[in-house]
Symmetry: C2
Subunit: 144 residues, 2 copies
DNA sequence: CTCTCTGCAAAGCATTTGCACATTG
DNA sequence: CAATGTGCAAATGCTTTGCAGAGAG
């Protein structure tokens, strides 16, 4: 909880209030992993039993809009949310939507240069590599 | 239509039949741009009026599962589908889901190395950079 | 003749939204 | 007390799926 100050900072700087629900949602994302709305609700309810799913979604959308959270959606499944903590890369399975974090060992100015060239505001976690995760990878054109 | 042979090749090599519906869907994606299922349906119906939306989704999922199509999903909107034509990068807006293609000027062995290290089967279009597109980019923490 | 594919329509489900009340500054 | 946030529940809309008939090999 000592570095939750750091996590909360972004919200405090924004035009949004830091309510106890929002703080709890940020706390639920502090493990740096990827959770869907349902899982986040469970984790938040451990501390705040009354919270509703609508609030989870509304808050996650706010956090996303101010860049504190990244979203990974894939067809036919719930989106996965991750707090923007430290700079790192992602491996996303094009089949099942699995997301794996990869530590950054070297700078990647190329990605940011690309983004800038097209007027994009780059975020911290800039690089996403898509492919088949080991579980989904199959020798040939075998479905799913 | 002369390079549709190339597009169709992947399907022919798979265990799936190359029906006229599937060929039409591939043709609808030949422009290399990003379309949602509804738009693809419209384009396909110009040639095959009877096609249903269910077939579009079923086919797109097959194409995705054999690597012929890439999907970009974002919360609160329809997924966008793109044929895997030439190697290129993507800029994805974390706010509105806008996808912009970026030509590849230099090789990116780093991304593929990352994927391999984690047992991922890399696909052709490997690099996705997430950020705010020019329309969504705002000076400060202003929502949406 | 068997297996695969398609159209249709219904179902499923994640996400969004309206509204009344609570909370915050 | 004015503005923002929340809970609840209903609505929305994309996507999936079951089934019967059509089509392909």
């Amino acid at each position: 909880m000592q570095d939750s100050k750091g996590v909360d900072a972004g919200l405090l700087q924004s035009r949004y209030r830091l309510t106890k629900q929002r703080a709890a949602i940020l706390r639920a994302l502090e493990d740096g992993r990827h959770h869907n709305a349902e899982t986040i609700l469970e984790r938040v309810r451990e501390h705040l039993p009354g919270v509703s799913l609508g609030t989870i979604y509304r808050t996650l959308d706010i956090l996303r809009s101010i860049g504190l959270v990244q979203v990974f959606s894939h067809a036919g499944g719930a989106a996965k949310y991750e707090a923007t903590l430290e700079k790192h890369h992602h491996l996303v399975c094009t089949n099942c939507g699995e997301v794996v974090n990869v530590a950054v060992n070297e700078a990647l100015p190329l990605a940011q240069a690309l983004a800038q060239d097209h007027g994009f505001d780059g975020v911290d976690c800039a690089l996403v590599v898509t492919g088949r995760c080991p579980r989904c990878a199959r020798p040939n054109g075998v479905a799913n």
